[in-house]
């Protein structure tokens, strides 16, 4: 039970998923999730819809039990502990504020059900409204609030009894872009302020990468990779992670030779040298994929040089997205807008492109198939 009296040492707010599998009949929603979320961490589960991330979240909050494995919160096994007895608070996708109650009553609801006196509740609700920078709206109706205000009220309600873990189920998905970006910063600030472990569910990689300490990328119930945002982006361990997180160009090829960290790959466009992802070992003749990000394809000769024909481009202010055909494949190239001092290439022009071997990743084909 989360208690309002804070102990001197910070409580253990970690979550351990110990070989958790969740099945519905023959369908495996979560397959052998095995990871530890540290105390006070901002941790995100990132994946496309239907990848099992919400199922996992409901399992942590206690609405479902794992078919196999254990969920430990603060080192305690949560088997058989209902959602109302866990030190977690869940922020629902559509927030689930209580429309028949005032804002203050919403925020004080967790205190009300714990038998806290009315006066005390009101005091705490006002404190929390202060914290979310919305003082004085306690007597308003929920329907009178804007989207961003509702968001913050939902957070205040979840934090009213100081849970150890705050679970967030895509809470920003209903907001418009500007507000969403603003709320990212805000969420991160609140998390730093209260020191609660945040577990954040999203399909938006921008949200996951900007806010999180660590990210777990999920696909079809399997956790593909866990790591810091930059590692997820720069060092994908599977073809799914490489293609789902950020934009990527994939080239099919055959391994020519591997020498430690790097390998040479024969592709229809030529032989390229690149970093081997996930520390794997390949034999000559193994099929593999080479991933190189659009912004890593730079004009001019150098390493891994090749030529491509520009087919079309999309101008987006700071960046110019160029699509170029090389061999059978169309590649995406991001070019920084050099302004009036530079010049934009025209369609039909031939581009000389290249990339550094460390900025491209060779990954096995097998799990690419599972993605599509």
């Amino acid at each position: 039970m989360p208690d309002t009296s804070r102990p001197d040492q910070t409580p253990d707010r970690s979550v351990l998923l110990d070989h958790v599998s969740i099945r519905f009949g023959n369908f495996t929603a979560v397959d052998n999730a095995n990871l530890k979320i540290n105390s006070g961490e901002f941790f995100s589960f990132l994946g496309p819809s239907g990848c099992g991330k919400t199922t996992l979240l409901r399992c942590i909050s206690g609405f479902s039990e794992p078919t196999e494995g254990k969920v430990l919160i603060g080192g305690k096994d949560m088997a058989g502990v209902g959602p109302n007895k866990r030190p977690t608070a869940l922020i629902f996708q559509h927030l689930a504020l209580f429309p028949l109650m005032s804002v203050a009553d919403n925020i004080a609801f967790p205190l009300e059900v714990r038998g806290v006196s009315k006066k005390e509740r009101r005091k705490r609700a006002d404190e929390l409204l202060e914290m979310i920078a919305l003082p004085g709206i306690g007597d308003k109706k929920v329907s009178e609030l804007s989207g961003g205000q509702k968001q913050r009220v939902a957070i205040a309600r979840a934090l009213a009894v100081e849970p150890d873990i705050l679970l967030l189920d895509e809470p920003l998905s209903a907001l418009d872009l500007k507000l969403r970006q603003h709320m990212r910063t805000e969420l991160r600030a609140i998390q730093k302020q209260v020191g609660v472990t945040f577990i954040y569910i999203t399909h938006d990689q921008g949200e996951a990468l900007t806010m999180s300490d660590r990210v777990a990328v999920m696909s079809k119930g399997v956790i593909e990779q866990v790591g810091e945002p930059d590692r997820i982006y720069n060092r994908p361990r599977s073809a799914f992670v490489a293609s789902f997180v950020g934009e990527n160009n994939a080239l099919q090829g055959v391994i020519k030779v591997q020498s430690g960290e790097t390998a040479a790959l024969d592709t229809p466009m030529g032989t390229f040298e690149a970093r081997v992802g996930g520390g794997r070992k390949y034999k000559a003749g193994d099929k593999a994929l080479l991933f190189v990000r659009p912004e890593q394809l730079v004009p001019g000769a150098g390493d891994n040089a090749f030529e491509a024909t520009l087919t079309r481009q999309e101008f987006e202010g700071a960046t110019n997205h160029v699509f170029a055909k090389a061999g059978d494949s169309e590649l995406r190239v991001s070019m920084v807008n050099a302004g009036l001092a530079g010049s934009l290439p025209a369609a039909g022009e031939t581009l000389s492109l290249g990339f550094a071997p460390m900025n491209a990743t060779i990954l096995p084909v097998a799990d690419m198939a599972s993605d599509t």
Partner: protein, 399 residues
């Protein structure tokens, strides 16, 4: 005005006449002193039928029984309906369809069947377990009615539950509420309007039910069964008086509700500040639903009191006298005619018996002119008008 609006107007008039015409006629007949509910001929304005209605012991006993049974049905059918709706919402869809059909079935079964089966079942039970106390009209009627009225309540709750966001309950649980608290603090407040309408619908359904009740009520009677038996023995304007009361109650309820809805809408939509009615404190207070209700009840009280002081006996006596005079006149005319005929008959030869058959019925009943006493009218008079006035004049003549 073009033809379309003319037709539209005529149609609207016809439509509303069809809807409300009977009600208007019924209200008028309640204040006509004629013994038979009718508008023409108008006799006297009277409030006597209300007194007659309240004086009818059988109806008043039935009303009390109906209230007792209605309260019992509401108290049982609403929770049962709510439980059924909740159970349906929790079930997997395949099972839900089956259970829905089962729960709805009592509505489709004729009330007569439900009534008979209720008395048969509980007769068996009370005999089998020696619980004879259960075999009484109140208990059986409540039990018989809730078999199908709880299904009405359930339908109301299902409609409301479909709009309930189940994550609300989950949120409550997640925030530390026990399932009981989540039910009381989240689901019940959401269901409150539906509970109100379900209670109202079940009360009305119980009150007006005849088919089932007429069997299950045994030797007792409810308002509806008492009313039905009264109508069977001939109707009088006290039923119109009852209709006036029911229409009045409905109107007061509707107006109060309208006042409530308008105020709510105005407050929700922020129209309150714009409307001059809400700006002025006096009119603002006057349009409050509670005040509206109080004013309407006050008006009814004053009208009822004034009505109860109204004495139509003078007018009724005058009308009666008029009728008696008219009857007398007719009788005298008839008598004169018969005498004239007899006089004519006596001038004819006695052997003309062929006419004797034709006039026999009339002539035979008519006493001889010598013995006739013109001052004493006879109730058995073969007057063609006797039937029409008979109901009114006969008791008076006995006095």
């Amino acid at each position: 005005m073009n033809r379309n609006t003319l037709f539209g107007g005529a149609y609207a008039v016809a439509f509303f006449s069809f809807l409300f015409g009977p009600l208007v006629i019924m209200v008028i007949t309640a204040f006509n002193s004629s013994k038979f509910p009718r508008v023409v001929p108008w006799e006297c304005f009277t409030t006597g039928w209300f007194g007659e209605l309240f004086g009818n012991q059988r109806l008043m006993d039935g009303l009390l029984n109906s209230v007792i049974i209605g309260a019992g049905v509401v108290a049982l059918a609403v929770p049962i309906g709510l439980a059924g709706a909740l159970a349906l919402s929790e079930l997997p869809s395949k099972l839900r369809a089956t259970l829905y059909t089962v729960l709805i079935l009592p509505i489709l079964i004729p009330g007569v069947v439900l009534g008979i089966s209720t008395i048969v079942l509980w007769g068996q039970i009370s005999r089998g377990f020696g619980a004879g106390g259960l075999y009484n009209g109140y208990f059986l009627t409540i039990v018989g009615q809730i078999t199908f009225i709880s299904a009405y309540a359930m339908l109301v709750f299902i409609a409301r539950l479909q709009r309930f966001d189940a994550t609300q309950t989950e949120a409550a649980l997640d925030l530390g509420a026990t399932p009981g608290q989540a039910f009381r603090k989240i689901l019940l407040p959401f269901m409150a309007p539906a509970i109100g309408s379900a209670a109202f619908i079940t009360l009305l359904a119980s009150f007006e039910n005849y088919n089932t009740t007429v069997f299950t009520v045994l030797s007792e009677s409810t308002f509806t069964t008492a009313l039905a038996s009264k109508v069977r023995h001939g109707t009088d304007p006290s039923l119109s008086a009852l209709a006036v009361i029911i229409i009045t109650i409905t109107l007061v309820g509707a107006l109060t509700n309208e006042a409530y809805q308008r105020r709510k809408e105005a407050e929700m939509g922020g129209r309150a500040s714009r409307s001059p009615l809400y700006a002025n404190p006096v009119t603002r207070a006057l349009t409050h639903p509670g005040v509206v209700f109080a004013i309407l009840v006050g008006i009814i009280a004053v009208v009822s009191f004034a009505g109860s002081r109204h004495d139509s006996s003078m007018c009724e006596a005058a009308v009666l006298q008029e009728k008696l005079d008219r009857q007398e006149e007719l009788r005298a005319a008839q008598k004169a005619r018969i005498e004239a005929e007899q006089k004519q008959q006596s001038t004819l030869p006695k052997s003309n018996s062929a006419f004797g058959g034709a006039f026999g019925g009339l002539g035979g009943a008519t006493p001889a002119p010598e013995s006739a006493e013109p001052a004493a009218p006879k109730p058995e008079s073969p007057s063609a008008f006797g039937g029409a006035f008979g109901g009114i004049t006969a008791p008076k003549l006995e006095e």
